[in-house]
């Protein structure tokens, strides 16, 4: 209970502190550079040059310490040994390209990168297109969207139960094995079968992310000008033609956004692999490999190097996002 009290106290202190900071700094600025008197014009100009930085101060400090500094520091750490005490040049990078587990992680990450965004966006588009046409569509949507609220670990428990294997002679209680047995197949420990197991883990993320894709694509589909669809109907296009030739081309931009958002998530996928296989049986991925080297390996040099690989992989998307944001603002 004690820490709940501290949590609540922190909220009060934190919120109060923030308010106080903003209030006091503004007050000080107004007192130091009053907008009246002989130098009013100059003071107002100066004050309005300073004020934005007061408003953004705490955010800039937090962003710099918690996101910018680590990026720079990681580059530095990746050039040093396990404890960070000695400079080792590019040794960590040389180790990396020759490491079997790293190559396995890269291969798996690439597979995740292709399968998960494609499947989530595909299912999301299907769900969006179908649910928009029926009366109980909103209800259906919120059920498909629901896994979004479930933690990756929770989802891992849910799916591990489906893949459960009891062993020979016992009644299978995992849904997958029960179905396999029902169609006269042989029950298996699916989670240990390479390379199928990686795909079984991907299913979990697809299950979670489809709702996200559906919500956004559904909004985009509704935003399509009605005239374009009407024109196609008059020209005698079939529903499928309307969907693929008229609607989808008009929402390419949104599809790209959904795809890249899921791609970033996939590059950082960690909890699912940790909870279901912990990288055994050929399912290792970069984020979990980094975690391994950080805690079990206790090697900050190698862990930082792996983390930087993830950073390099997201950089193209980062640049693309910044470009888009810039275009939006003009």
């Amino acid at each position: 209970m004690e820490q709940v009290f501290w949590a609540l106290a922190t909220i009060v202190i934190g919120v109060f502190g923030c308010v106080l900071y903003f209030y006091l700094t503004n007050l000080l600025l107004d007192l130091a550079l009053p907008g009246r008197g002989p130098n009013a014009g100059r003071n107002i100009n100066r004050a309005s040059a300073i004020r934005p930085w007061l408003f953004m101060g705490p955010a800039i400090v937090l962003l710099s310490v918690y996101l910018v500094y680590p990026v720079i520091n990681s580059v530095w750490l990746s050039l040093r040994d396990a404890t960070g005490d000695n400079f080792v040049g590019l040794d960590n990078y040389v180790w990396l390209v020759g490491d079997r587990k790293f190559l396995e992680s890269m291969r798996n990450n690439m597979m995740w990168l292709v399968v998960v965004p494609a499947a989530s966006t595909g299912f999301g588009l299907l769900a969006a297109a179908l649910t928009d046409r029926i009366r109980w569509g909103n209800f259906a949507k919120s059920l498909i969207f629901m896994p979004m609220a479930i933690s990756f670990v929770g989802a891992s428990v849910i799916w591990k139960f489906i893949y459960d294997y009891r062993g020979e002679g016992l009644t299978e209680i995992g849904l997958l094995n029960a179905i396999v047995v029902a169609i006269s197949g042989v029950a298996q420990g699916w989670i240990t079968i390479e390379p199928l197991n990686s795909f079984l883990l991907m299913v979990v993320l697809i299950w979670i992310q489809t709702g996200f894709a559906m919500v956004i694509l559904s909004a985009a589909l509704r935003g399509i000008p009605e005239e374009t669809v009407e024109a196609a109907v008059i020209d005698g296009a079939s529903p499928l033609q309307i969907f693929f030739r008229i609607k989808v081309p008009q929402i390419w931009g949104t599809i790209a956004v959904v795809w890249t958002t899921i791609t970033i998530l996939v590059l950082k996928v960690f909890d699912i692999v940790l909870a279901m296989t912990n990288g055994q049986w050929g399912t290792q991925v970069l984020a979990n490999l980094m975690f391994d080297w950080m805690f079990r390996g206790a090697d900050s040099g190698r862990a930082s190097t792996v983390a930087l690989v993830i950073m390099v992989l997201v950089t193209p998307i980062m640049i693309w996002n910044i470009r888009n944001a810039k275009r939006e603002m003009q």
Binding site: Q3, V4, W6, A7, G14, V15, V19, F22, S48, A49, R51, P52, F55, P58, A59, L63, V65, Y66, L67, Y69, S74, G84, L130, T131, D132, R133, L143, M146, P147, A149, S151, F152, V153, G154, I158, K160, F161, E172, I173, A178, T210, V215, I216, A219, E226, V229, G253, F270, L274, A275, F291, M294, S300, A303, S304, A307, V314, M318, I322, M329
Partner: protein, 378 residues
């Protein structure tokens, strides 16, 4: 669009069925675990959850009362009782040896060695007769095939909350989540206002930086920040994780709020400026109240993300009783109680109950936030 594309009845049916199947596919996994979390632990291991509504058959080995309890009736020595003890149950077959455990129907006379006879009734009452006095210290084995009615229980939940100490973890998660959700909001709101409505050199650059920081992998941040926190003396403690979540949540907060605040009508803000209001007053009196939907959207995102987070908590908090969050506990259970599905199922549902409530209760804001973050913002 229904009126032009969805009029053919066959098509309507196909769509309805397709959506039904899709929804089924999406909710079956969760349903399976939810149902299991209420089942009796012995039943979970012998039958699939999809059969949980029906009675299940099982082979059970019971023991008669010990010879001490025998009574003599008309020259035969009798041991009697019920194979289920005091609980109700149904016997569909019984046997006297392990080779033929289902040899007799209820009510039949079963033969045993040394001239003994055994009768088991459908309700579980048995009567073991012997011409000689029963000897030995333990009762005879009785093999019964039972039909078990489905048993649902809240015991699993009671177990995980108390015995598996999930209750404590629930409090820990709560302690992490609340400040980590509230604190970034105010910091981000001020920054978002400045980025949306104040003119200063470098504004475009800062916005670009925020968009860029949105995708920085957290993996990169852990080692440097852990070293920093340790140097500051707040490593592995709540203050550290609150600050970390605040920092990690800020880019999204600023981005979402800026998009929203920049979209507020220019006239309102300009006219307030003309009336002599300072930026601080405009922010407090006009922007903050009008931005409520965006603030709510972000709060929900951040809440769900922090509540469900495993990675940041593993890195910045310890493994002890006072600090292990629910996702961490769940992951531990997956390792240590891997096959005990009643424990795992109940634990999983305790941990996802709150996010699900938030999700279904506040879905409107969540959807709005998603849309302003992706469709408009690009």
């Amino acid at each position: 669009m229904d009126n032009i594309a969805g009029t053919r009845p066959k098509l309507v049916w196909t769509v309805n069925i397709a959506v039904f199947l899709l929804v089924l596919l999406w909710i079956v996994p969760t349903t399976g675990l939810l149902v299991s979390s209420f089942r009796d632990r012995d039943q979970i291991t012998v039958s699939g959850w999809w059969t949980s509504m029906f009675s299940s058959e099982a082979n059970v080995i019971a023991r008669s009362a010990p010879p001490d309890a025998q009574v003599e009736e008309d020259g035969v020595y009798v041991l009697s009782g019920n194979v289920f003890g005091s609980e109700p149950g149904q016997v569909i077959a019984f046997g006297t040896s392990s080779r033929a455990p289902e040899a007799y129907s209820p009510g039949d006379l079963g033969e045993m060695s040394k001239g003994r006879t055994l009768v088991v009734e459908a309700n579980g009452d048995y009567r073991l007769e012997s011409p000689e006095p029963h000897s030995g210290s333990r009762g005879a084995r009785i093999f019964v095939r039972t039909l078990e009615a489905p048993r649902f229980t809240l015991e699993n939940y009671e177990n995980v909350i108390l015995a598996e100490r999930l209750g404590q973890s629930f409090l820990n998660t709560f302690s992490v989540t609340i400040p980590a959700t509230v604190i970034p909001i105010l910091v981000a709101a001020f920054a978002a206002y400045a980025l949306a409505w104040m003119e200063f050199p470098g504004r475009a650059l800062l916005i670009a930086a925020v968009v860029g920081l949105l995708v920085v992998p957290l993996q990169l941040a852990f080692i440097p920040l852990l070293k920093l926190h340790n140097a500051l003396g707040i490593g592995k403690d709540y203050l550290g994780i609150w600050l970390a979540h605040t920092g990690f949540g800020l880019p999204l907060a600023i981005y979402l709020l800026r998009n929203y605040i920049a979209g507020l009508p220019r006239e309102i803000i300009e006219s307030a400026r003309v009336d002599g209001a300072t930026d601080f007053e405009i922010f407090r009196r006009i922007v903050l109240p009008l931005s409520f939907p965006a603030l709510a959207s972000f709060a929900i995102f951040q809440f769900l993300w922090v509540w469900n987070d495993l990675l940041v908590a593993t890195v910045f908090l310890g493994n002890n009783e006072q600090q292990l969050v629910m996702t961490g506990r769940l992951r531990e259970l997956l390792g240590s109680r891997g096959g005990d599905w009643e424990i795992l199922a109940a634990s999983a549902f305790v941990s996802i109950a709150v996010p699900l409530m938030v999700f279904f209760g506040l879905q409107r804001f969540l959807v709005r936030g998603l849309l302003s973050g992706s469709v408009k913002g690009g």
